[in-house]
Amino acid sequence: MSTQAQNAIVAAPVGATPLWRRVKRALMDRAVSPLFAVLLLVYWEFHVRYFGVDALLLPPPSHIAIAFWNGMASGLFLQHFAITIYRALSGFAMASLLGIALGAAISHFRFVEKTVYPWIVALQTVPKIAIAPLILVWCGYGSLSKVVTAALVALFPVLVNTIIGLKSCEQSKLDLMRSLRASRWLTFRLVELPNALPFIFAGLSVAAVFSILGALVGEFVGSKDGIGFLILDANYQLNIPRVFALLILLGLYGIICHLLLQFAHKKLVFWNEPKDVTSA
């Protein structure tokens, strides 16, 4: 009896969290960051209007919203956006295929590792963006130069992560396959490649962001269409609200890309929770 009573006394505060505390926690978790953004936007609007900041330097959010709406409604944004996405995704696809294939070759064949890998490490230190003008010269003014720039920028995260992932396989798993006299190819297919998938996915999420970056840089260097062209064009016309509107569009694209890859990660690499990739 006495122990039961004691248990009841001890259990009460632990078992039931008061409603107000749970509501507070839910608010903290979900509502705080959007609330912060709204407050910031309100202050921004207020500051620009009240202190008379030149709209050419910093347009108020309302102007940006109107510019965004106009751009979307006229179809101008989407038309150029489609072109840029096509370039970025083509570059992303190229980078993914090449990165995984090359990474597999490097981690599996000593000869390839010895000959190619030092150069890849050296190339990685070169800012790829600096090569963009050269690529324009080589690949022309059309889409190809943008696709190649996007692929080049996105290649390295995929490649490096593939190599790390393939090399991270535990020795005991390899021993297990060896004890069954499994061929190298079978060991690769059944153990090493799936084992590397979490790493490869981390590389792919970075590459998705990098590929849009590459496509934009390609368009900045020289293009007659695409979001990069639109941004430069708006900038020249001092249409700053439109520049901001286009940045929002790019931000939305980045978020959607990230969510899609995270979803794919959860489905395909279900045994390994995705880690948030914060490296830019």
Partner: protein, 271 residues
Amino acid sequence: MSTPSQHAATPVIELAGVSKTFSSASGERVRALDNASLRVAAGEFITVVGASGCGKTTLLRLIAGLERSTSGTIKINGDQQLGPSEQIGIVFQDPTLLPWRTVLENVLLPVQVLKLDPRVYRRRAMALLDTVGLAEFQNKYPHELSGGMRQRVAIARALVHDPAMLLMDEPFGALDALTRDQLNLELIDIWSATRKTVLLITHSITESVFLADRVLVMSPRPGRVVEEIAVALPRPRNLAIINSEAFGAHVARIRTRLGDGAARHPMQAMA
């Protein structure tokens, strides 16, 4: 206990003067195993006990064909061993399950690699999972299982292609004491039912005596088999036997032998 007729037959595992020397990157040479000789008859349960670094894992890897001996001969079923063989099933310290495969798919991995008939062996895999009490977990993934359950899956996987012998490298070392006792009992059941030849490595003296027909005691630097102790305890065994006087005598003998090994090379032990 094995009968004399089994001893007369070809040993399943036969080591004669087997040594293994590793050279480190700095050129330093380490004698991991020195002049080991061993005959294991079919159906015997052998345990190898010793401190870490005494070469017991090297011994197992040599028998498994995962490592080449520096000198000496190793014969499996009377044939010169030339590398890994499907006659051997291995259970590692870590369950080594593939996290993207279900329990059943993990057990069937050797069947897939060895290109055996999946229909026939699927039934066998299910029966093995039933033996280790995991039949209803066949479609679960490893991360949904406890440590003990994972090691049970690893045992089922090691047995699925019906190898003649089972090599186990400290299979229960990472488990808690209660789960470990439970798995020791299950292992004895499996061994009794299948009559596989088992060679199990452990650093637990109690475990080595409880499971074995014979215990090999090893001492480090260089790794050597310093004594072979026949365990004269009746079977079937249950956990109560651990408290018996005879059991205690075996344990004491091994402990003394292990202590000897360390005391005899005080300088090497310090280095």
